[in-house]
């Protein structure tokens, strides 16, 4: 029998023939649609109490298989979770003390934060949002450098090229396109680095989300789009943001595979992301992973969450806390013992105290530097303005000295 899909209209062949999806789905013995659509349920390995879910209830299946990472990796993830929670809470406190200008906390989302960093190889890239401080730190960037912009400095603090981590900034989803460009450049040079591109649920409504997914699919580049669906974009709930069955479903329209995972299940997040990164690298194609999680604190210190959600809802999510679940699981499996737990807590405490110290110190800033990097060489206008500010500063010092 003739399959109508195998005889495309003249001039319309390309989309089907070029798609790597067809190859990939065939290799799993399923249809492209089955491959691209998320599994029937969220991928979940640990239940809310931290007990391992039976395999047949994990949501996995052909083409949606997610092997549980090795003990060593799980332990590392746990250490990063503990540190991440500590960093979130320390920074929250620093904002209240006026030491930080702003901090978008990922308290409650730490499993996603850690998974995003641990799924990558050193040669891979990460493009985070403003809420992904813990991911950036888990990737290995010095916490003090990461916090520079939140302290109110004019620059991003760390060297994006050295760490292969995009500069955190706020224009929503614009960084997803940067991720696609980085992957495309790597592909043209024959490198196989994968790029993880992060955004929130609200951000999926932005045009650049659409353009990035489409470009990545057409260019056939290994980008893993990682959406942390924490239920809100500031005050606006997901229901006002999208009418799709899930955000993972958005993938199919662009010709890529989407998966939805329990974002508060450290094991599942890591398993899903690791597999996505692997597939992206193997097949040079993009994938989308949506992690369903919850922002336990206000959007930032400037936000009043009581205006749009009740305590009851937050309390419900407290019972799915990613940290406790992972701790229970690792302890019951004998992967985590008291010694290790103690070491992990101490290490997290060290990071927190170094943050406290660094953010309490007044940084020695050179105001004149604001002119120095705008262009490779300052223009005549900038040189004149620099001289003006220099003069103002010197006069201010002289006046101070005279008093």
């Amino acid at each position: 029998m003739d399959d109508p899909k195998t005889t495309p209209e003249p001039g319309h062949e390309k989309a089907e023939q070029a798609s790597r999806i067809f190859e990939a789905s065939r290799s799993f013995g399923i249809t492209p649609e089955q491959y691209m659509l998320p599994a029937q349920q969220q991928i979940r390995m640990l239940d809310a109490q931290g007990t391992l879910v039976p395999v047949e209830q994990q949501g996995t299946g052909p083409g949606h298989e997610y092997p549980i990472p090795e003990d060593e990796v799980l332990l590392k993830a746990y250490a990063a979770l503990v540190a991440g929670r500590r960093i979130n809470d320390q920074n929250y406190a620093l904002v209240r003390q006026g030491r930080l200008a702003v901090y978008p906390s990922s308290h409650g989302q730490e499993a996603c934060q850690v998974g995003a960093a641990l799924c990558l190889e050193p040669g891979d890239w990460m493009f985070p949002t403003y809420r992904d401080t813990v991911s950036v730190i888990s990737r290995g960037v010095d916490p003090l450098e990461v916090m520079v912009s939140f302290r109110g400095d004019w620059h991003c603090g760390y060297d994006p090229k050295e760490h292969r981590v995009g500069a955190m900034s706020t224009p929503l989803t614009t960084q997803l396109l940067h991720a696609v460009g980085v992957a495309h450049a790597a592909k043209l040079r024959g490198e196989d680095s994968v790029v993880l591109a992060m955004c929130g649920d609200g951000a999926t409504s932005e045009g650049d989300f659409h353009e990035a997914l489409n470009f990545a699919a057409v260019f056939e580049v290994p980008v893993v789009f990682f959406v942390q669906n924490n239920g809100y974009a500031i005050s606006v709930p997901l229901s006002s943001q999208s009418a799709a069955p899930s955000l993972a479903h958005k993938a199919i329209g662009y010709g890529l595979a989407g998966e939805q995972v329990d974002g508060n299940d450290m094991v599942a997040v890591l398993a899903t992301l690791r597999r996505a990164v692997h597939l992206a690298r193997e097949n040079s194609m993009p994938l989308l992973v949506e992690a369903v999680t919850y922002r336990m604190q206000a959007h930032t210190n400037a936000d009043d969450e009581t205006r749009y959600r009740d305590r009851e809802e937050v309390e419900q999510w407290k019972r799915k806390d990613p940290l406790l679940r992972m701790q229970t699981f690792l302890t019951s499996e004998g992967i985590l013992d008291d010694d290790a737990a103690g070491r992990i807590t101490d290490a997290a405490e060290k990071v927190a105290s170094s943050l406290r110290q660094a953010m309490t110190a007044e940084p020695a800033e050179n105001p004149l530097e604001i002119f120095d990097h705008v262009y490779t060489a300052p223009t005549a206008q900038l040189l004149a303005q620099r001289a003006q500010l220099d003069d103002e500063l010197q006069r201010a010092t002289t006046t101070e000295g005279a008093q």
Binding site: S169, L177, V180, G181, V182, E211, A212, T376, T379, A380
Partner: protein, 344 residues
């Protein structure tokens, strides 16, 4: 130089095309992409033949999305490439503005100079070609207003070649405005000579450099007509007409709006004592306004007359039937000269 023969004539368009292919030849990291730039060679054919010559990895069509084009250029530049992207028409660059303003302009500053984005954004601009709405805008002011971008606009075929090569070679992002009215204009230039000039000593053949280098394209003593891009030719014609009335007009082509050659501007105005600024873009809050303000700030004591502007009206571009009434022309420039104060 030898006498001009048929082979040493070039169009503005082929100067741009050759600049890109020479840059691609010289540096493997130069890539060209945009809408229809591959097989078709661009709607204006400026990228004609690049895919054929360098392959689809070096010159390629993208999906139809300008923010996507600019945003992926950012990523490619972060990862070692020198993207030259084409916006199909002036008004169709607007979907890319967020990427251009928020990232391309600011990345070097945000990263303390660690991540420079050597991107060239080519934009065919301006009117006078009978184009319909959205195809004739002069949008240079938006970009010139944005710190971190360089903004070039050549007015001659030689500058089209040399300035585009410089734009590709500079580590700063450059918005490169191509007056589409000039694309098919011919000039007695030999591209291989220009290539040799540029490649043998590119430091000296820099047309713009760090501080900008406006050029006096016609010497004069009574008044300076200051212009750029598509209006330079009109300014020269007006100067020639004025000469018949006994007025000696100097014409300055700014060439680069950022960096802005203030020294060159001051020089001509101090010499002549009078200035008219000519540009196609609507005049309100425009580059012409900036030039006028600078003359007032820096040359006040040399001025014998108020500085005047001859620009497009403050209306949406009235293309194509009524554009002739909108664009600055010789008569309007001559009227401005008449309006100037000539007696002491």
């Amino acid at each position: 130089m030898s006498t001009i023969t048929a082979t040493s004539t070039t169009t503005f368009a082929s100067a741009l095309n050759t600049a890109m292919s020479d840059a691609m030849e010289a540096d493997e990291s130069v890539v060209v992409f945009g809408e229809d730039v591959g097989t078709l060679g661009g709607v204006f054919r400026i990228t004609d033949g690049l895919t054929k010559r360098f392959g689809a990895n070096r010159c390629f069509d993208t999906p139809l999305a300008e923010s996507g084009i600019a945003g992926t250029a950012v990523g490619m530049a972060i990862n070692g490439m020198r993207p030259v992207i084409e916006m199909q028409f002036d008004a169709f660059a607007f979907p890319a503005l967020e990427q251009i303003f928020s990232h391309i302009a600011k990345m070097a500053n945000r990263t303390r100079g660690r991540v420079r984005l050597p991107i060239v954004i080519r934009i065919p601009y301006g009117g006078g070609v009978g184009g319909v709405e959205h195809h004739c805008d002069s949008s240079e002011a938006y970009y010139a207003h944005t710190a971190g971008l360089k903004v070039f606009t050549p007015a001659t075929a030689a500058d089209a070649y040399l300035m585009l090569r410089e734009a590709i070679d500079t580590d700063d992002p450059v918005v490169f405005f191509e007056p589409k009215k000039l694309y098919w204009s011919k000039a007695p230039e030999d591209l291989s000579t220009l290539r040799q000039t540029y490649e043998s000593d590119s430091a000296h053949s820099r047309q713009i450099g760090a501080q900008g280098q406006a050029v006096v394209v016609r010497e004069g003593t009574d008044v300076s007509i200051i212009s750029y891009g598509p209006s330079v030719a009109t300014a020269v014609k007006a100067a020639e007409a004025a000469a018949e009335d006994g007025i000696s007009a100097e014409v300055l082509d700014m060439r680069s709006l950022v960096p802005f050659d203030e020294a060159g501007l001051i020089r001509t105005v101090e010499k002549t004592g009078r200035a008219v600024v000519v540009a196609e873009a609507q005049g309100f809050v425009s580059v012409a306004s900036e030039i006028t303000a600078r003359i007032q700030e820096r040359c006040f004591h040399s001025l014998a007359s108020p500085v005047l502007r001859v620009t497009g009206f403050d209306i949406p571009y009235p293309a194509p039937k009524l554009e002739e009434h909108h664009l600055p022309d010789v008569d309007r420039i001559l009227d401005a000269l008449d309006e100037m104060q000539w007696e002491d």
